[in-house]
Symmetry: C2
Subunit: 445 residues, 2 copies
């Protein structure tokens, strides 16, 4: 049987102990964080290095066996778990983090290294990874790159795309490509790493990344600003962009979300009188960022956190939204992006649409990126999800901001991508993976 | 005749006055800045807007007529001039620059807008374009994007790639794609704009770019530091990366290059005693960057420029290299990148190789990017060029840092790109341009 032949080859490549075929051993790899996506793998394969990855991919290609690559399995759109019958390729053992190259401020990290490990290596060299989010202890560098991860610091430092100074990947035919010399300017031919970033494992298996670090900025200050509406929030952001070059984050939430958090954590309100819209701003720099913030905020209705405890206390109000929502019920989570000048109308329309469906919307996100995390409590089926994505599309937004398309949103890709764009994407996919063995069903349905 | 039919269609699309067929009218479009590349165009076509570009490309596709897109024609590798017989598609009339969106710090610029026009629009909004180089008055946004332009500020702000928040382009079949909603995080499908950046007009004709601006940093300071060797220069850079987060530029030149400049401009030496290697550093920030620089430089052998005149005087020593070299003869110019830890050995090897060939090498560049501009005076033929590119390849560098591959280096692409990479590039090219009508012969020979 061909299946047995493949299993034997995989065991020969990675060692019998790293091909997991028993259901109970496979199980932790088969479902994702969202709890919505799960499928049985043909086998879970855990290679130790790039050479083993190339051999595994080549063997699968020869057998026409589809592969789902997986990093820390912290995704929310089903991109890294089996749909049923695929080889689950876990990259977690490729977790080496090299020495930081101080002159280029770069470091080589294996696909399986966690974000926390990357951050530690950067900090030990007096530098900063430039990216952060809650899943830092599990999410891996390979997954961050394949999904083009964002987080609150993307406003200043860009998404993971901006951190990729080069990468190594295995293509669908089992050949590795390696662009990790770390030369910042490299325009010799098409930028294949740039194409692989955000392609969610459908064009190649990322095995290692040369990460561009950023300077460590020791002085930080946080302000929570209460505003009358989203237009005022956008005006504040415009002022900060112009007058506060140390701006690092600008997230937002609404008063009903804040109340949910305050009730959940049994905390008093941080600002009185309350406001319909809140923006939480962080500046980071080397000099006096508190003065810089004060100059930019002017007479704003705000509370400022200067020392670490006060800063964390303010951020907790934003970051506890997820936990407070989870305590209130199982939410549908839609991660979308909307042009900032249409954000106010979008938030109103979402609220109306969700309430008409008898459900409740909790809305927050990254203001500077137009990135809204739409949480819907009490909805049945996918109708509300689709309605929200249509509201995004009507405003020229994107159905996926930082979480990716995966299998969750593949059928809705055409809402915000034109026929010409999707045709080009399909042509690229066919060109690089003619057998459609790399993460089939993700991104392009 | 098919040729006549195409000419008539092109006149119908853009107006007879914008299809230039007479040799003397075509001539200014047919040769590039290097003086090395020139070819006769079938016609020069000057569309007014994206709709006309789509119609022109569709007409050419129907007739199988190859197209060479051209912006400001400031390239140095023959990517934007005809090889012979192509339709030269000039994008210069698409020169509109929109209003700056203050909240996102973004602006829409037509492909034909000059870098200087973009910089003016940014400055008028209290922001900064984040990119600069000498050809700013001619080089266009479309060309910057197609070539992924760099310049001295790329150390801090990245190359043009980092400035592209989205773009509009016409693909080989005449269909336009448009991703300019300016949402920073947009992971709905493959990042086609990222693939088009740096593809030198071979995968699509860029018609407009949504440009991400950066904060304007009012305080600046420049230092010229004399160092014993390239290793010391790399150590200085490492210290600056860690201790001077306001670091914006770090270029280098050597003492013989400095002498050439001093003789040409009849200037005294800026630093005594002289040093083998010089690094010119610029910091830009909001607070006291002079103190930040002094802290990071410590006891370095340096001269510091604080006011604008002194800063310009120091930068002139670096920027006048090109002019001083031109006064000494016709130079072969090779723009290459080398990993910083191999830069010292590379510079020695280039000097030895060039001198063995009875020629003279002048070497300078962007230290922070490992980007070396190799200028060879007194060489005949292409032998020395190829020898230098082989030295680059041996050290894991790139044959093109910021100028692109064009037709000049297409035959050498395999020196620094693997067979698997080139195969992937060719597959992508075939997938998106099966007739090979977009800039044939550039990038991929």
């Amino acid at each position: 049987m061909a299946a047995d032949t493949l299993a034997r080859r995989l065991r020969d490549i990675v060692g019998a102990g790293h091909v997991l075929s028993e259901p109970d051993l496979r199980e932790p790899y088969e479902g994702d964080w969202s709890g919505r996506f799960r499928g049985a793998a043909r086998a879970v394969v855990r290679p130790a290095d790039t050479a083993q990855v190339t051999a595994v991919v080549a063997a699968c290609a020869e057998h026409g066996a589809p592969i789902v690559p997986q990093g820390g399995n912290t995704g929310l759109v089903g991109a890294g778990v089996p749909r049923g019958g695929e080889v689950l390729l876990s990259l977690r053992r490729l977790d080496a983090v090299g020495d930081v190259d101080a002159a280029t401020a770069q470091v080589d990290a294996g696909a399986g290294a966690t974000l926390a490990a990357l951050q530690s290596a950067a900090a030990a060299a007096g530098l900063d990874a430039g990216i952060d989010f809650g899943a830092r202890d599990s999410a891996t560098v390979g997954g961050l790159t394949a999904a083009d991860a964002g987080g609150r610091r993307a406003l200043r430092h860009g998404t993971m795309r901006a951190r990729v100074a080069g990468l190594e990947a295995v293509l669908a035919d089992g050949r590795a490509i390696d662009r990790r010399t770390g030369v910042l300017k490299d325009n010799a031919g098409y930028d294949l790493p740039a194409l692989l970033v955000g392609s969610e494992g459908t064009l190649g298996v990322i095995t290692a990344v040369r990460v561009q670090l950023v300077p460590r900025l020791p002085e930080r200050v946080v302000a929570l600003v209460g505003l009358g509406d989203v237009e005022e929030a956008a005006d504040l952001l415009a002022r900060l962009r112009r007058d506060a070059p140390s701006l690092e984050c600008a997230d937002f939430f609404l008063d009903d979300g804040l109340q949910l958090v305050l009730d959940h954590l049994r905390l008093p309100a941080p600002l009185e009188p309350r406001a319909p819209v809140y923006v939480i701003v962080e500046l980071a720099g080397r000099g006096d960022v508190t003065e810089e913030l004060a100059d930019a905020l002017g007479e704003a209705h705000a509370v400022v956190g200067i020392d670490g405890t006060d800063r964390d206390r303010l951020w907790r109000l934003r970051e506890s939204h997820t936990e407070a929502i989870a305590a209130a019920g199982v939410a549908h989570k839609l991660d979308v992006g909307v042009p900032l000048d249409r954000l106010a109308g979008f938030l109103d329309a979402v609220r109306e649409t969700v309430e008409e469906a008898g459900a409740r919307a909790v809305l927050f996100g990254h203001l500077g990126d137009g990135n809204v995390h739409v949480n819907v409590l009490g909805a049945e089926g996918d109708d509300v999800d689709e309605a929200v994505l249509r509201l995004v599309a009507e405003r020229g937004g994107t159905i996926s901001a930082e979480h990716g398309v995966g299998v969750a949103k593949a059928r809705w890709l055409s809402l915000t991508r034109s026929e010409a764009e999707i045709a080009a994407m399909r042509a690229i996919k066919r060109a690089l993976d003619p057998q459609n063995i790399l993460n089939p069903g993700a991104v392009l349905a």
